[in-house]
Symmetry: D2
Subunit: 187 residues, 4 copies
């Protein structure tokens, strides 16, 4: 049954070598075969900074429409966010701000697993909190699982896999919860 789920996976960073891309890849690996995965790179849906005048004049820009379409086509979402200045990066928030505009809210009712990684000790915990708050406000159902990877510069091996067995187990349990909740909500 779970294999009929479609999950959108993306990292909230544009940087090619982003720790959060690596973290996301570990989640995708864990979900593979259990759901259909749509792996999105935010650079594929480039959009300008949100500007109400721009929206009024020309509607949603192409990247925002593409991002909304990818979100809308998914049953559930997994994302990995960096933390900049104690909270959600402007880049990720801007993408969510655009996606929240227009007639349909693509987050509504969807199970979302919010993970985070940072080079410091805090593992992007404040950014994870902020993204959960934002997406709850958009009527998503947050999967209550704590995947917050600190010292991310040392957390991945050369193949990009989480080094610590405990971190990997936490991530795998979180992915299982995402599948369980998304399946329950869809069923």
């Amino acid at each position: 049954m779970a294999t009929s789920l479609r999950i959108l996976a993306f990292a909230g960073s544009l940087r090619a070598g982003s720790y959060n891309r690596k973290l996301l890849a570990n989640a995708v690996e864990s979900l593979r075969g259990k759901a259909e995965i749509d792996l999105l790179d935010l650079r594929e849906v480039a959009m300008p900074l949100y500007d109400g005048d721009l929206e009024q004049a020309s509607g949603l820009p192409e990247g925002a429409r593409a991002f909304k379409a990818r979100l809308a086509a998914a049953d559930a979402i997994v994302l990995a966010t960096p933390e900049y200045n104690t909270t959600v990066p402007g880049t990720l928030k801007n993408a969510i701000d655009w996606a929240s505009r227009g007639p349909d809210n693509p987050f509504r009712g969807k199970a979302v697993l919010v993970m985070g990684a940072s080079p410091g000790s805090f593992g992007a915990v404040r950014s994870v909190m902020a993204v959960r708050q934002i997406l709850t406000g958009l009527f998503a159902v947050i999967v209550p699982a704590a995947v917050q990877i600190g010292k991310a510069d040392q957390a991945f091996d050369e193949a990009g896999r989480l080094r610590e067995a405990r971190s990997l187990a936490t991530l795998e349990k979180a992915c299982a919860e995402l599948l369980r909740i998304a399946t329950a909500l869809k069923g």
Copy 2:
């Protein structure tokens, strides 16, 4: 099917005339007949301020054990919280802190609808946010519905019912979401 659900309902205030008791009563009315309701008054489970030395010496106090038992017996939770000083009241947080101690976490996996009321314009929105964050941290599944009643001193009629049709509709939709998500998670 939904009638097999057991929902614990409580307000995060000790005051007899609390606006949040009134708000909670509206939710209980909306849920009646659709689930078994256990209506809790926090004064029934009086507990001391959390103190790690007290816990070490004597374990959980009686009120905390009773609160945990009521939480544990429920499939889902609806609560209404005041806002004191921009966030969760100490009284409610203290009850949650005690309930989070000991071998079993009674919030884990349960759907929780967090509502709020306040006499000011903000409708306890910051307290609702804080309680959602706290309970997500305890692995509850937050029902993404916004029941935040501002100007609460004028919001209820003499029978205690929400005056504004729009507020009542929002509350009823939120209660339906609680039932839907709790049923899905249990199923």
Copy 3:
């Protein structure tokens, strides 16, 4: 003495008709003659979305450097922020993220008054909270004054002035606090 202060004033919105531009104009009016005001339009310092690879390749973009220079030249800051999706707009956060990069932190030690306006009842209170948190993390000194204007679509008269005497008094007191704290910190 206070007249030797230089205060940077900006709104966290790009939209020309922004309520927060109007709110900011009220603060600028209140501060006029008491400090030198540098009124910034974020559109003057247009910058791309933050991207670590872009920063690595080409350093800070011109708009970000210009924004940092305006911040650095100020003794204190007043800003007015919209609220998008329960928190800071991506656009404003992106500007702060860029400004936080590079050798000098232009927010350090500066008194900042964070105001907010929104068409809803909450007056951008969650965005104000978020911006305070972000700027405290960047070592600014937050002026503890609550200028949060709800129902902003009805809050300003045709000349753009706050209609309610109480709101105006709150704003004027907040501006006086900004001057007092900035002067004390500089002195």
Copy 4:
């Protein structure tokens, strides 16, 4: 000049062996000779859980009045808070809730340094954030310095002193900032 300052110091925990008491003691040591220190143990000002009916019937309880008096007599405050369930402990929040009642707000205008310690990696960072938000709402001036001690069970030597030179330097710089800002605001 700074020696004329009176600083209230307290930890947000009742437990005798609290890490936050130890952290506070390090701050007190750093401040000694530079200000008059009033070291408060929250157990000295024991108070019931906040209850609006109790307040209505009998006013502020003795412990709350004593706490308010100690706060009121101080020019500035340093506190160290544990983190329970991702945010401020109920015990500390309850004390602040009581202290915020009645005619005078003893936090208004005072410089406050908020520190935190926890046995986990996050160093109580979310609780520090929450306490800053609460006290900003009560019109205190938050000292923007990050003293957040993770792995607190290993952070102190047998004499109770912070083991890591870097942590101690951060704390000492934060205490110097508290003195500087409190002195500026008083002057």
